[in-house]
């Protein structure tokens, strides 16, 4: 059968920037531009998991603090004032990323840091950073391989944690990351093929770094034309950034996807168009409301815990440092000196000491 209806009731987005340090400014700008488009098209913050190192806006080298620009001449500030970063700094690790996807988070994780999708959720996953053939580098210290990613998606499918999943990756040799997928209903786009590098777009001379990657720059331009009611489909998305503009060859993979890409709307993944039904029935309720006595309601009085007892801080005396015996280095040094002394002058001198 050919199913042209998407069958999803809610949308989620997982946007990950896997780099840190000032010279990787463009990766943060990439992720924030996708975040901005996705929010503009309707996905609320509660359904977006944003993972950034978040060290750009308040970096010492940023000439315009609290901003992250995506176009040169500082035209568009994608940082804005309502960015909600769920995983920042050193929390952006391979482990956390896989935990989010598979749902294996510790029970203390708050709701905003979880991917609470169900079998009717369409999920958009966007990764950007430095990558290679079959791996993606996370924060300069670890890597995620394409096999691990494919296994994570398979576990999501086993637990029916998605209806359809769109995977976009903007790194060097990005197409290698989707080679190993084997779960159904996955569509993947990458900015470059195996053996090719994804290139950055344009530097801004005032800020001093490259602001965006080419693929995401043209992707953002494409998304700016999309509004919540538009009917543009995935075939147009595949044409974004041809080789003449991108220098690398973008690739895509649709063989695991059940629907025809021409019938998949952009807003199925990037936006959040709800299905609504008119309520035709009502229930006739005739009982009058019971008047509850105010004594029955137990009102809990909440008070703030005294976290910073200011009076104690002001009148604190400096703490006495406890005496510690000399540590190993000093002991070793003295032992060495004594040994050398007795070796040189003979043991018989011991009686002069003791």
């Amino acid at each position: 059968y050919i199913n042209i209806y998407s069958g999803h009731t809610n949308n989620w987005a997982v946007l990950v920037c896997t780099s840190r340090f000032w010279f990787n400014y463009r990766h943060v700008a990439n992720t924030l531009s996708v975040y901005r488009s996705v929010k503009r098209l309707g996905i609320p913050d509660s359904h977006i998991v944003l993972m950034l190192a978040d060290d750009m806006a308040c970096n010492h080298r940023n000439p315009k603090p609290a901003t992250v620009f995506s176009h040169k001449n500082m035209e568009l500030n994608v940082y804005g004032d309502d960015v909600e970063v769920d995983y920042r700094g050193y929390e952006v690790t391979v482990e956390n990323f896989l935990r989010i996807l598979t749902g294996r988070l510790p029970p203390s994780t708050p709701r905003s840091k979880r991917l609470l999708s169900d079998d009717r959720s369409n999920i958009l996953i966007y990764l950007t950073g430095h990558g290679g053939n079959g791996f993606l580098k996370f924060q300069d210290s670890e890597e995620i391989s394409n096999v691990e990613l494919a296994d994570a998606f398979e576990q999501m499918w086993q637990k029916r944690r998605y209806n359809e999943l769109l995977f976009i990756i903007d790194t060097c040799q990005g197409a290698s990351m989707y080679e190993r997928f084997y779960s159904p209903n996955l569509m993947a786009l990458a900015s470059s093929q195996v053996g090719e590098d994804s290139l950055s777009h344009q530097p801004d001379l005032a800020i001093g770094v490259h602001l965006m990657d080419r693929y995401t720059f043209y992707l953002l331009e494409f998304l700016e034309d999309i509004h919540p009611a538009s009917k543009t489909n995935m075939n147009d998305l595949f044409k974004v950034c041809p080789k003449s503009q991108c220098v690398s060859t973008p690739g895509h993979r649709t063989d695991l996807f059940l629907r025809d890409p021409g019938s998949v709307l952009i807003t199925d993944f990037f936006g959040s168009v709800r299905k609504v039904e008119l309520t035709m029935e009502t229930i006739n309720l005739t009982d009058p409301i019971e008047q509850l006595e105010s004594g029955e309601l137990q009102k809990e009085m909440h008070t703030y815990a005294d976290q910073l007892p200011v009076s104690e801080i002001i009148h604190q005396k400096p703490k006495q440092k406890d005496w510690h015996p000399p540590d190993g280095f000093i002991l070793g040094l003295w032992t060495l000196i004594l040994l050398v002394f007795f070796q040189t002058y003979g043991v018989k001198h011991l009686k002069h000491i003791f």
Binding site: Y1, N3, Y5, G7, T9, N10, G42, I43, P44, D45, S46, V94, E95, L98, R99, T102, G103, R104, L105, P106, P110, R111, S112, R114, L116, D118, D119, R120, S145, V147, E148, D151, Q155, Q158, K159, R160, P228, A229, S272, V273, R274, K275, V276, E277, L278, T279, M280, E281, T282, I283, N284, L285, T286, D287, P288, I289, E290, Q291, L292, L297
Partner: protein, 581 residues
Amino acid sequence: MKIRRAQQFVKYSDQPVMLKLKRGQLAALSIAAVVIIVGVPLWWRTTETYRAWLPVSQIKELAKLQLHLSADVEVVFARGTVTPEQQKKVPLTQTQNMEHRVDEDTALSYRYETRYRTATIMEEDALNQPTAAEADLSLHTLSESPSGSLVVYVIPESSSLLPQNVDVYIGQRRTALLRIGSQMRVGKTLEQLLAHMEPRIKQVLHVMSFSHTDITAALSNRVRISPGNKESIADSMRAFKSSPGYEITFSLLNPDPKSHRLHWDIEGAVETYIQPLLTKLSPVANFSIDSQTLYYAMLGVNPRFDSSRSTYTLNADSLAHVINPVEARLGSNAASSNPVLNFLLYIPDAHHSPLYIHDHKKQQVPTNAFHSPRWGGIMIIRQCWVYNVNEFYEVDTVFPVDINIDMAKVMGVFLAQLRLLLGVQSSTPPPGFLVAPCGNAGLADWELDRLMWSRSVENIATATTTITSLAQLLDQIGNIVINDNIAQQVSSAVTSLQLAVSELEAGNLGFALQYSKEAILSSERAFFDPSLLHLLYFPDDQKFAIYIPLFLPMCVPILLSLLKIVSEARQKHREKKPKKD
């Protein structure tokens, strides 16, 4: 002194050669022995991952899911429906079995046990009531049917309980009234009577008890079912999936606090109207309710002015864009991961009052409300449900105006939406059926039974899929550590599943649902345990790269010396041979 001391130490180079060789051989052999006997097992044990025992065979058995559902039906003949001749053969019990194979791993079998008997005198009195609703009430006071069973009272054609074109009346509890034709048309023997009644009874069972479409829809987690048409897709998408708990949030949206001061008695309304339904649904799930008021929350869509009716209107097409701007401000309980049902009540601002929703045919929607599948419902207040209406259009009104909301009407709509979203609603009944309104609890007993059937099946299907895929995953990836608590959760999930399946077969609906909920909780806890994260993917070349620098420098001298020993022994053996000969 010095000489004696010197004699004790013989230089190693002066010792005889044979002794040297033998010592060398012994050294090599003992090192090899230590490496093989002590080293290799030690390395194996220390690099092993701890994997507790899992009941793999029982899990494989559960993978082939065979569900047996059984329902008890009692058919009671009132006076005038059976001839004395037929009455002699009653009481009678019949059993019907139906098997369905859904796919290669899942099979369903339905069993209906029907008991036929005649009515008692008290039941006859109850059936003499003027209306069907009162008859239903008095029948209920006589006896209470257990969960999952049905009673059908057969009344003669001459009875005036049902209106003219209605043959079947479905009550609020677990009873139905069926009117059959006159004895002339029906037939003389009991078999003919039963054969005549069978299609009707089948329809009643289809409506009030489990039906094949509902049960296969509940299995959708396990079986890839191709959806039939747009309606069935919409039906399967609307209700929330089975979950141990839900959160319900009632929000009052006031975009214009300068003009309106709203008063709604939400606590009383929830206690009176919503809580009875949730208490009745407590075997199915836990519910937590909260409410909030949001100020300056706009709808996000501009309503159009309809000059013919001098009201503002919202088109059905623009309703889809209403939800997103509001959702960002709704908030939810950060501590729980339960699905949230949002019910919003919107009071239009003074410049856009009154505001009505129009459907595709430009007709006003009577409830003025709409709902979104798996999300919740939004209602726009109607002028007639609000007191202090007349002061709106006067010039010298003092703003803000006090508005008291009629919670009974509001909660009536929210309750209907809640029923839809929880999956209580059934499909349209066949022609000739009259279904009683669900009453103040908001839920008929047979509707609760239907929900319990589908929830039990859904829970069992989901839990078996979870456990099977977890066992498969742990089998495939040898590096994952399986702690004792995970093994215990898996074992308890397996036990609960087996109990749930057997209780379902026995027809004990309440116990089946309870065991299935326990199975779901254990299996989810086991599957989503944070320790089960397989982070280490080692391709083979990386394994070689780690072990070769460690083991190769150690193994090469041992191997070479062993080879040397073997070659020397063989040489000696060859030298000895000619001597023997």
